[in-house]
């Protein structure tokens, strides 16, 4: 396991941090929100593409840069610092991973270059209930001549409101709860029978509910083996979870830094509030949690690149701890700021709103603790 960045990774980190600070600061999210953009920004997507961020996981033969998860994690952490809305998690991490891990040569050749160039965005549509439960896929895919007919509904698909292509998990066999029988289908956003209901979400990033009514897809739109989509989906989701943990770590760090600065400037009773021990101890505990989570995220990122066999465990560790961390830090950020923390004009509320979405997506702390325990045999 490697915890120290290579020169390439460090360079990418610096670029990503500078980009987030200069081009996607929190004020930018505010502008998008107030302008009703619902987290969608075509111009920014172009800039991210120019920097090569969409192709970080895509191998060079498919026009990507193939730098791996550690590198991707640096970008996600940077975007987390400013709680920026980008399609990177769904497109560059999960979508790209599904295709890299399960796509046919033709699918890879068709889609990966488009992902890497930022030409298409992808959203992976799995969950059907209000809590992450990827095994509980009930959407039906019925064999129909040379293709399949999809019927079902997907809830709260992140980036679903502006994705060009969906990767839809549907059932070709068995019933909700089983891994075997899940298959993955590429569905363009203009497919007949697909309706996309855009959602205004608390974090201003947006999402969508999908309804599939007799959506016809051809055989060559199946990614991975029929009935065995889980073998592709699970590792791809794990990469997403790790990347999202990196993002949440970035948000927690930024919210913590902001809080620390306030502690060193705000005076009450003639004293800096940072000199009150009850706050100092809570800050020191948050710092401890931050450092411990940073180690977990770093281990999980490098675990993917090293092809370790405990990636699932590391992913759940990173996501659970990051979820708990961002929950704690975002609450304390509001509390430490007092009344000003409750105002819309202050950033602390924005961090708390994004925190709840970061927690819920791809499984919260409870989901991942349960998974971690199972993976450890109890």
């Amino acid at each position: 396991m490697s915890f120290v960045l290579s020169e390439d990774q460090q360079m990418l980190r610096d670029t990503a941090m500078a980009f987030a600070r200069d081009e996607m600061p929190v004020t930018h999210l505010r502008e998008l929100r107030d302008g009703g953009a619902n987290g969608v920004d075509a111009e920014m997507r172009g800039k991210l593409a120019e920097l090569g961020f969409f192709g970080v996981l895509v191998p060079e033969e498919h026009d990507g840069v193939g730098l791996g998860m550690v590198a991707m994690g640096q970008i996600m952490e940077a975007q987390g610092r400013t709680i920026a809305a980008t399609p990177l998690l769904q497109t560059a991490v999960i979508g790209a991973s599904v295709l890299i891990l399960g796509g046919s040569e033709a699918q890879k050749a068709e889609w990966l270059p488009k992902i890497a160039s930022g030409e298409v965005t992808v959203a992976v549509a799995v969950d059907e209930g209000t809590h992450h439960a990827p095994l509980n896929v009930a959407t039906e895919a019925e064999r129909n001549g040379q293709g399949y007919t999809l019927n079902g509904a997907k809830r709260f698909v992140a980036d679903g409101h502006h994705a060009d292509i969906f990767i839809v998990a549907a059932r070709t066999f068995g019933e909700a709860g089983q891994a075997h029988g899940i298959s993955l289908f590429l569905v363009p956003n203009d497919a007949d029978g697909l309706s996309v209901q855009a959602l205004n979400t608390v974090d201003s990033h947006g999402a969508a509910h999908l309804t599939l009514e007799d959506v016809a897809v051809s055989e060559d739109h199946v990614v991975g083996a029929v009935d065995a989509g889980w073998e592709v989906l699970e590792p791809a989701l794990d990469r997403g979870r790790i990347a999202l943990a990196a993002e949440a770590l970035g948000s927690a760090q930024a919210a913590f830094d902001m809080t620390l600065e306030y502690m060193q400037t705000r005076k009450q009773f003639g004293q800096l509030i940072g000199s009150f021990q009850s706050l100092q101890h809570r800050a020191a505990k948050m710092f401890t949690e931050l450092e411990l989570t940073r180690s977990c995220v770093a281990a999980a990122l490098s675990g993917v690149d090293e092809n370790r066999n405990d990636v699932a465990e590391l992913a759940s560790l990173a996501k659970a701890r990051a979820s708990d961390l961002i929950h704690l830090v975002s609450n304390e950020t509001v509390q430490f700021h007092g009344g000003i923390g409750m105002t819309d004009a202050h950033d602390s509320g924005l961090y708390m709103k994004r925190a709840r979405v970061q927690e819920a997506l791809l499984g919260g702390a409870s989901y991942h603790r349960d998974r971690y325990a199972k993976l450890n045999g109890f």
């Binding site: 021990q277 101890h281 800050a283």
Partner: protein, 404 residues
Amino acid sequence: MAFDAPEDLDEFRTSVRDWLEENCPPSMRTPLKDDEIVWGGTREKFKNPESKLWLERMGEQGWTAPEWPAKYGGGGLNKAQARILQQELRKIRARPALFSFGLWMFGPALLEFGNEEQKKRYIPDIVKGKTRWCQGYSEPGAGSDLAGLQTKCEDKGDHWLINGQKVWTSYADQADWIFCLVRTDKTVKHEGISFLVFDMETEGVEARPIKLISGSSPFCETFFTDVKVPKDQLVGELNAGWTIAKRLLQFERSSISAGGFGGTGGSGILPPQEYAKQHVGVDESGRVADGDLRARITEHLMYSKAFGLTVQRSTEEAKAGQEVGHTASIMKYAAAKMNQDKCELLVEALGTDGLGWDGDGFADDAKKATRGWLRSKGNSIEGGTSEINLNVVAKRVLGLREHQ
């Protein structure tokens, strides 16, 4: 048996392996039993004779202190070699040859602050486990506020004269020597402290054991009445002992968080999830039947994993030349929390089997877990309380200030 460390690391590894194969007695490759821990010193009884042999052989090599200079009896190994030695020891599950405050705290401080004569005099015996040291820091009125200590030390021309009392002195009744903080100037607080060492056999030294809630009595009240200490046993400059004291505390804290904790459970104790499976039962899919307990055990396991990864990360960052003071300072606090949570969970998972004290009717491992749980309460007190550690993090790492 003399060991000439080869330059080449592969060769070094091979020769370490050969040496261990030949010199590590069979029973020293089994899990350490609590009553076979070797603390060395003149009072050591060596319940298992092979542990004596093991200490002698390791001490001869200087491998109880692998990175200390060879001229003081240390191993003289560089970092890479020391790591290989650790790996090879771990591979054969070798017991630590020696537990020692001398190795963990006093030795490292003396190497930094002692004069040549003192290093030559004290270090070799620490390495070989011939002298056992205790730590005379805390006093009845000076615990967290250690610099408020009052034990009086007067310059009597040809010797120092000491009067006062220490408390919580771990193993003072078993120790040969003490490293001790004394007041040499009453008019200033931090700048009036000196660092002194002396023989516990000196006239006027008395150690009275205090019993702990876990039933054992590892520490003492220690009284000094007109104790005469030779002049050359002052370490560092007069009135400049506080710097040494603080540095030594750093060594203490990092040795505590690196796993030197009492109450970790010891050998034979299963991890909490195993006790939970046995005593609470499992549902049809093999999960611990009590979902809340299962979740809390998992949370603890994740915390431990995060802790372990953080230790690994700071080691790597240090190797890469990065600043690691950040992580080092949170580790004592985190280690105490981790160990205490584990001990609580063990007792809870054991159910009423975890509520025994002694005698029949309770399994040995269960009784050990119970005693360990009680002992673990000291983790957030010894070596500086968790509150004091959080103060240090807030002030030194986060840059938060004192009240003005």
